[in-house]
Symmetry: C2
Subunit: 185 residues, 2 copies
Amino acid sequence: MDHSRFFSFVGGQAGPWRVQSVRPWRGETLETPAALDVYPGNLTALPADANWLLRGVTSNQRYVNRGEQAALMAVQQGLGRADSTCAALIPIRKNAAWWALTQEERREIFEERSAHIAIGLRYLPAIARRLHHSRDLGEPFDFLTWFEFATGDAAAFDDLLAALRATEEWSYVEREVDIRLTRAG
Amino acid sequence: MDHSRFFSFVGGQAGPWRVQSVRPWRGETLETPAALDVYPGNLTALPADANWLLRGVTSNQRYVNRGEQAALMAVQQGLGRADSTCAALIPIRKNAAWWALTQEERREIFEERSAHIAIGLRYLPAIARRLHHSRDLGEPFDFLTWFEFATGDAAAFDDLLAALRATEEWSYVEREVDIRLTRAG
């Protein structure tokens, strides 16, 4: 098994990220743990004393076209920047109506009508991100998005979420939990 | 965990399908077992005495558009037909160049230049199929396609494979194994 693209997020008692808040935006929330740890790889069992385990895998692009990809690559920055002391983990599940759409119908809603990529671009390079796919792993969420940013960009991050949640695309979101973190230490 | 879309294919000593042949088309082959069993669900360990275990998950459409989907739905038939005494399991892995393409570039090659859907349509309803995605599970193959057909359609099935393998899309296939089966009993 090649699990090099897997990441396991454990909400529990220990880890480099302190949990500031866990708030549901749609549907059922998650328990609020003290801390969060991110493991590269595929944890198959909940560690002792942990509250929850969420897993996802980085994968090929589903919606971005060549021009959009070039625009993103030109400005985005990686995770782990020294001043990125804030993070967020946003697990999302979309509804059955979304997944019954064809690829071209989903792309039309995603970008032509909701400007998902264009909105994200406005917040680069401040807000770094990594998308993990979970739906085909049998997980409770379809996507786990991990964001990192400096304290001074926390308000911009709130703006980014508000802009996305106002889109037509977000009308297909049936569960979303907003987990805010700060680096322990 | 919701593993209702998972299927586990076990090549071993027992199962309702007798293995006629295991032939590599590209890259490394698989061992030739005596029989094959198909389990709904996600087997996490190789059963005793089995040769190999391959897993996949049925998922949302990646390439088919609305018109193509309607054309497929109008003619395709389900698995398990009484006269479908022949089956094939074709595990495929595409190369890194394929997965580095954007969605629209992949669609262009898949259908506009390779006619993957149009070719498949010519062999409906004779050749029934179910596609399983494996790439994001960390499996050795990207896709497992399961086919069922009557003895009299075995030559048509060979034609279908030959037509697909002659396409531009197939130039991205780096590993493919062709496993032919007949129903035991």
